[in-house]
């Protein structure tokens, strides 16, 4: 029972990170119907940016307060990653808009290869250990096997929840969100009605990257080490989460992320951590076979 609770806490932590990345996939897919393969590597890049800024703050500027540092790191990582994703969209995807369906996909795969190798070249191929932060534990239940929750985990879940709420507000209540949903429904019509489609799509990439940067910062914090190859697997998992939740659906992405996180953690705990990826992917395949549009996706009826 206690193990179960412990794994639940761990799974939700991991799932929060997947969920944040998954939103980027699902939003971009919703608005331009493209699988943004580079998104996982944007996430990895954001973890590096967060790490570098953290080190610069503490070492070069001598900042001592951890919470302040964390806040600055989070905001800066969001800003710089957003700029990167904006530039990527501008350079690699926008020229391909409205063309062949697979061209942007290949472009995105190329971008993904470029980003991971770029980080390798400029920051080196070795693992980057992060100085430990927020390591205190809270004991939820007593005893030697008691359930614990680290401040890190609380931070991760709290930040995720807060940002998701903010994000939800943006999408539901602001003009930007309306424009976004309009473009999702019918891009041509939206542009005829005066929605600046290019700007809306750019902003979608910016928001997706900002959320990925939150995930990247939290990932760095949680695992304490980053590497230039860290984009692929979390990226694929997050994409899986987006599909599982029903691609195009924002709550679906979060729920899918949490589910994948839980599946992975529980599988590792009770069976074998070797096959945790197999478990996550198998659940995806089985779900899709029985629920072809994911958990919360709109079923797509093909009007004949």
């Amino acid at each position: 029972m206690e193990n179960f609770l412990q794994q639940l806490v761990n799974g939700l932590t991991l799932g929060s990170i997947y969920g944040l990345i998954a939103i980027g996939y699902t939003m971009v897919f919703g608005i331009i119907g493209m699988v943004n393969f580079a998104h996982g590597d944007v996430f990895m890049l954001s973890a590096f940016i967060a790490l570098i800024i953290f080190l610069a703050l503490t070492q070069l500027l001598g900042l001592a307060s951890m919470p302040v540092a964390f806040l600055i790191v989070l905001v800066a990582a969001m800003a710089f990653t957003a700029l990167w994703n904006w530039a990527i969209e501008r350079v690699a995807y926008r020229p391909l808009r409205g063309s062949f369906r697979l061209a942007p996909l290949i472009s995105a795969i190329g971008m993904s290869i470029f980003l991971s190798n770029f980080v390798q070249v400029v920051q080196g191929p070795r693992n980057k250990p992060v100085p430990p932060m927020f390591t205190d534990l809270i004991h939820l239940t007593d005893g030697p096997l008691g359930v614990t929750m680290s401040y890190k985990q609380i931070l991760i879940m709290a930040v995720t929840a807060a940002l998701l709420l903010g994000f939800w507000f943006v999408v539901q209540k602001t003009a930007l969100g309306r424009a976004q949903r309009a473009c999702e429904q019918d891009r041509k019509m939206a542009s005829l009605l005066g929605v600046d489609v290019d700007r809306t799509i750019s902003l979608t990439f910016v928001i997706g990257a900002a959320l990925a940067a939150v995930a990247g910062t939290l990932y760095m914090l949680y695992y304490g080490v980053v590497n230039f190859t860290d984009g692929f697997t979390p990226g694929v998992k997050a994409f899986t989460a987006a599909v599982l939740g029903g691609i195009g659906s924002l709550p679906g992405a979060v729920i899918g992320g949490l589910l994948i996180g839980l599946i992975e953690t529980f599988w590792s705990a009770y069976f074998s951590s070797d096959y945790k990826d197999v478990a996550a992917f198998s659940v995806l395949a089985v779900t899709l076979i029985f629920m072809p549009s994911g958990l919360l996706g709109r079923p797509e009826v093909e009007k004949v």
Partner: protein, 501 residues
């Protein structure tokens, strides 16, 4: 590349503003990741050091490139001018900092390119748009070209051998010839699935792995020969194609993509972790080498060289491997071309064009997709068996997502459905990355610490983006009809659909 009218006359102030903005963005992009470098110190502590020079270089390069792009209206002129400017700057840099005598020469070369580009641009700006050559003539020519190409492919190893000798030609036949042909074959195999049937498969490498491990395991445990394992590898891969395809081919396109991707990853994870079966990360080594239908390529008395009375050299095996993969690739091509002209092949293409219309005409779409999937997988399996016999070693490392992505990129860049296009794309992408291995001379320019190999994948990724933007529909986007009444005229690429599957 038709530029809108108002862009025809470049405008210096606008180009400057544009370039300034791009430079500013580049500075923002470069700030944390380029300008600050993380490094582990003696105590394994991570420390950060400023490295502004890289950031400054990046900003300058982008500024120049953007400025030139703004000033030149024709893309050919841009393609000439931007490298020209870079070469000129590097030449000047070398001349000044390293006091190298050829610095001035390089600068002059760069400047010449730059001036040439402006001259070209001025000429092209006023030139009328070129008229496309008549189609029919082209069809005849392409037939001639493929015959000549085929002859060249068969002669290639002998020409190389005669020219460079057994030692010197090895690299060309093996690293370029065999390596490229493997990808040509994989590209042609995947082309059936993606190019003809319009199904997006992101896990093609899984079938390649199935084929490779089939030969590796059957030959090392049961001592089966390559020639028995080759068909088995194809059959097993096709079997897996059906097993995977059956449940997922009903899914909508994007879901098919993720499930195939997941399948590719599952196979890799299983190969890594199921050590009793596959020996995990360590892989399977000492896989029996290829024989000339039973005659080994060894220096022994019963070896190939002795049998023909030749002097023994390892190049014999390489040449045999070259012809083996050439024949396998050609088999793939011939079968695909033949299938295209049969009802099944036409049904694949019709499926790519409009699945609903297909169903209304009585085409069983699930079976049709399944055959495409299984056939594609089968050729992947053949290629995998060949890979294992060529390397004598397989490990999960060779079957990562990057491989699937590369093969898919070859198909898309080739122009979906075009056999020649796919072959050209394989030459460009694989040949290109092989050439990047040979850039050691750059060390003389940038100093010993510069390792060009590091930049190989970086350039590879960038090239994928650039090529897609340059030719979104691939090198050869037009489609050749499979049957005709009077005259075979190619269908323009803009009419051909890419499929939703």
């Amino acid at each position: 590349m038709a530029a809108p009218l108002d862009q025809k006359r470049p405008d210096l102030s606008r180009a400057l503003v544009d370039a300034g903005f791009a430079a500013l963005v580049t500075f923002g992009l470069s700030f944390p990741i380029l300008a600050l470098r993380t490094e582990q110190d003696m105590q394994n502590r991570l420390i950060v050091e400023p490295r502004w020079s890289w950031s400054v270089i990046a900003v300058m390069v982008v500024f120049c490139a953007r400025l030139l792009a703004g000033l030149l209206s024709d893309w050919r002129a841009r393609a000439l001018a931007i490298p020209g400017a870079l070469i000129a700057v590097f030449g000047a840099h070398m001349g000044v900092t390293q006091a190298l005598t050829h610095g001035a020469g390089i600068t002059a070369l760069g400047l010449a390119l730059l001036i040439g580009a402006f001259a070209l641009d001025a000429r092209l700006r006023d030139a009328p748009a070129p008229v496309a050559a008549p189609r029919a003539e082209r069809a005849d020519r392409s037939r001639l070209i493929s015959m000549a190409g085929l002859a060249a492919l068969f002669l290639f190893p002998f020409v190389m051998l005669a020219w460079l000798g057994p030692q010197g030609s090895l690299k060309w036949i093996n690293n370029y010839g065999v390596q490229i042909l493997i990808y040509v074959m994989l590209g042609w195999g995947l082309n059936i699935v993606v190019g003809l049937a319009g199904l997006l498969d992101l896990g093609y490498v899984a079938f390649y792995a199935v084929g490779a491990y089939t030969y590796a395991l059957l030959s090392t445990t049961f001592g089966l020969s390559f020639w028995i394992c080759l068909p088995l590898a194809g059959v097993l891969a096709a079997f897996w194609g059906v097993i995977l395809g059956f449940p997922v081919l009903r899914l909508r396109g994007d879901y098919l993509a993720i499930v195939t991707l997941a399948f590719g990853e599952i196979i890799r994870v299983v190969l890594i972790n199921w050590t009793d079966f596959s020996n995990g990360y360590a892989g399977i080594s000492s896989i029996p080498r290829v024989t000339f239908f039973g005659v080994p390529f060894t220096a022994a008395d019963d070896g190939f060289a002795a049998m023909l009375g030749l002097e023994f050299t390892p190049i014999h095996r390489t040449i045999f491997l070259y012809f083996l993969i050439l024949c396998l690739a050609l088999l793939t091509n011939v079968v695909t071309l033949r299938l295209r002209a049969l009802p099944i092949g036409r049904a694949w293409e019709a499926l790519r064009e409009d699945e609903i219309a297909c169903r209304s005409l009585g085409v069983n779409t699930v079976n049709t997709k399944l055959t495409a999937f299984a056939l594609g997988a089968m050729f992947g399996g053949f290629a995998g068996a060949f890979f294992a016999v060529r390397q004598n070693f397989v490990s999960p490392e060779s079957f990562t997502f990057i491989e699937s992505a590369t093969i898919l990129a070859i198909v898309v860049l080739g122009g979906m459905g075009s056999q020649i296009g796919v072959a050209l794309a394989a030459v460009a992408m694989i040949g290109g990355t092989e050439i990047l291995r040979e850039l050691d001379f750059l060390k003389q320019i940038f100093g010993e610490s510069f390792d060009p190999a590091q930049y190989r994948m970086l350039i590879f990724g960038l090239a994928m983006v650039v090529m897609m933007i340059w030719k979104p529909r691939g090198l050869i986007s037009s489609r050749t009809p499979s049957i005709f009444l009077k005259k075979r005229t190619a269908v323009a690429g803009s009419l051909v659909r890419e499929g939703r599957g």
